[in-house]
């Protein structure tokens, strides 16, 4: 697989273009095994399951009044994701990622067919109904015009002169990005919001979990009536002053019913400096908690499954977590680790913790391999914010990892959140353990996701191959290319130069990208027969053929 590098020499200021680098081989990691693996395993291994791991897709409706773009004028380091240069191009990137996944439908390691996709949250950016629908439609397959408000016209900080914190592609000379050599790209915004983006859809069933951006305002704050009203209204803050005097002040006082009425009036008649008129759009409404799950149930049966992990029972019971059998010998658990009170980071609520413990014990008893999906990872599972009325205990990383380690069948914990390719070993004292696999995002550089394959080495060990996957748009953007693919390519280049996001950190190290992660088999894997595996592979191949490709 190719890697993408930044050009050694900036083209303007500190702005660098991108180019294709040399591919990276798989690096074996023995952290859990505790000894070097037998090199003969390459000749004996068989594939158990090949899938793709997505996370932090962050489809963005950049024009919604409910975004805090202007916070970057006063506190750029507090919310580095409030107004990215590439915000209008997220649907284009996701469609390119779908293309890339489709092209990788046969494993480069074993030739096994791609069988599933697991998405670990932050699929939408800001609770938006539109963002949620767009991301689902791109993954299911279809056409999306990523626009809201005025038809064929971008309305937002990227064209407002006073919004010097934002990148203005038509003329960046007066903004903080122009100072750093960002390019003049006439027509970028219009092309981004006017032209439909088409997607063939994922060729495999896909599953999703909640991320903090699917749960709270800006991934951090609990939403309230004032925010709901702002989202569908006709005023958007261009400056920090307007943001604080309107949207945030209303938010801070949402608890008072009288204040809510004042806020509503303020929205109708108020027009402070820095507050801009935009075309209101009821489609921009922010989703209530269970509506996010409901949106996933409004999906076609192919690629499926309808609900993408959630069922009607989840909605009825208000349970935002699920389990699914990817094959008869592999079960995956989708958790909701988001904190609805405050903060971007998360924890495992005790009810899910207890449920998962029972489920894993059952997998252990049945010799069934298991994986866990959550949005938050082990570095970001420490949020203890609870409502004043109490709430259940929140389990943090150390206790959660210790529980997972009790079950040798639990081989992988897939997650995201930090937008950094990171792979950690959680080894037990007796030489077992599991691998934690964190992927980069679709929105920030390097805009990579992962291909993952569970392999039986037939020597008492198994391997998990992880391959960092670039989206299909060319590494080097061709000046003036505003096609769907061109905009995805431009998005990656802008992201590589988006200094607030610390792009040099996000690709991870070579030990986090293309790797073979070894671990002892949790039981005699010969109990999974070749015939059983081949049957699963045949089903997967038939699905791929029906999608229009296949091996």
């Amino acid at each position: 697989m190719q890697t993408i590098k930044m050009a050694a020499q900036p083209v303007r200021g500190v702005y660098r273009t991108l180019l294709a680098g040399a591919g990276e081989d798989f690096i074996p990691r023995f952290d859990i095994l505790g000894r070097v693996g037998d090199p003969r395993r390459a000749a004996t291994r068989r594939s158990l399951f090949y899938f793709t791991h997505l996370s932090d897709i962050h489809v963005i409706d950049a024009q919604t009044p409910a975004r805090m773009d202007a916070i970057q004028s006063v506190a750029p380091d507090l919310f580095t994701d409030a107004c990215r240069p590439q915000d209008t191009l997220t649907v284009h990137v996701l469609a390119s990622m779908v293309e890339s996944i489709t092209a990788a439908q046969v494993s480069s390691v074993t030739g096994a067919p791609l069988a599933s996709a697991l998405s670990t949250g932050d699929s939408a950016d800001n609770l938006s109904q539109l963002e949620t629908r767009w991301y689902i439609d791109i993954l299911d397959g279809g056409e999306v015009t990523p626009n809201s408000g005025a038809v064929d016209k971008y309305e937002g900080p990227q064209v407002w002169a006073e919004a010097t914190y934002a990148y203005h592609p038509d003329d960046p000379a007066g903004d903080v990005y122009g100072e750093r050599g960002f390019p003049v790209v006439p027509g970028m915004l219009e092309a981004a919001v006017s032209n439909p983006v088409s997607s063939q859809g994922l060729p495999v069933p896909w599953y999703a979990v909640y991320g903090n951006h699917d749960s709270t305002f800006m991934g951090t704050f609990r939403p309230g009536p004032n925010l709901y009203a702002w989202a569908i209204g006709g005023r958007k803050a261009a400056t920090g002053e307007a943001l604080s005097a309107n949207l945030l002040q209303g938010y801070a006082s949402d608890l008072s019913a009288a204040q809510m009425a004042v806020n509503a009036l303020r929205q109708r008649i108020g027009m402070l400096p820095g507050l801009k008129a935009v075309t209101p759009d009821p489609e921009r409404r922010m989703l209530e908690r269970t509506e996010f799950m409901q949106a996933h149930l409004e999906s076609p049966p192919v690629p499926g499954p309808v609900g993408h992990g959630w069922t009607q029972e989840n909605i009825t019971r208000g349970e935002t977590w699920w389990s699914a059998d990817l094959t008869p010998y592999l079960r995956v658990f989708g958790l909701d680790t988001c904190n609805l009170v405050s903060g971007a980071d998360g924890a495992v609520p005790e009810d899910q913790f207890r449920w998962l413990e029972v489920q894993l014990a059952q997998c252990q008893a049945e010799n069934r391999l298991a994986m866990v999906c959550s949005h938050h990872n082990s570095l970001t599972l420490e949020n203890d914010a609870k409502p004043v009325w109490g709430g259940q205990r929140l389990v943090h990383a150390e206790e959660f990892i210790a529980m997972l380690q009790k079950f040798p069948v639990m081989v992988a914990w897939l997650n995201g959140h930090t937008h950094i390719n990171t792979i950690r070993a959680h080894r037990t004292e007796d030489g077992g353990g599991f691998w934690e696999i964190t992927t980069a995002s679709c929105v920030d550089f390097p805009q990579q996701q992962q291909l993952v394959e569970l392999v039986d080495n037939r020597d008492g060990t198994m391997s998990i191959f992880v391959n960092a996957l670039d989206h299909s748009a060319p590494p080097t953007w061709t000046e003036g290319d505003l096609s769907q693919t061109g905009l995805a390519s431009l998005s990656r280049e802008l992201a590589a130069n988006a200094f607030l996001a610390n792009p040099t950190l996000l690709a991870g190290s070579p030990l986090d990208r293309n790797v073979e992660l070894l671990l002892p088999t949790p039981f005699d894997l010969q109990k999974i027969s070749d015939e059983q595996i081949e049957r699963e592979h045949m089903t997967a191949r038939a699905r791929l053929l029906a999608h229009g490709g296949g091996s």
């Binding site: 952290d31 930090t418 950094i420 590589a496």
Partner: protein, 115 residues
């Protein structure tokens, strides 16, 4: 009220809903400091073709971070990262220093074409 002051007020308002008043919970996303040190260490080890058995695991200490791991022939990998970002790194194997420099330099070099 100044915009930043109001933003912080809003943040505090969010905490009124919280019984724990955990200021850290308002940090947008955690873990970037330790990850900088860890990734830079790994970049150096792979670049110098060090045979790794256990990749270094980093922990916060008073002076910054310390990361420890081992090679396939049983030698100890040790990274000491002093100060704050950009973190001055000293990476050694069984006491022999193989790298000194900042984490930021390493991370930047790793993403450039010439690296």
């Amino acid at each position: 009220m100044k915009p930043l002051a109001l933003i912080l007020t809003v943040a505090a308002g969010g905490l009124l809903l919280s019984a724990c008043s955990q200021i850290d919970s308002l940090t947008p996303v955690g873990g970037s400091a330790v990850t900088s040190v860890r990734n830079a260490t790994n970049d150096v080890l792979v670049d110098q073709q060090v045979p790794i058995l256990v990749a270094p695991v980093c922990a916060e200490v008073d002076s910054g971070f310390t990361c420890t791991g081992s090679t396939t022939d049983g030698r100890e990998i040790l990274t000491k990262a002093d100060g704050t970002s950009p973190y001055q790194l000293t990476i050694s194997i069984d006491g022999e220093v193989i790298f000194t420099g900042t984490a930021t330099e390493v991370l930047e070099a790793a993403v450039l074409e010439s690296s």
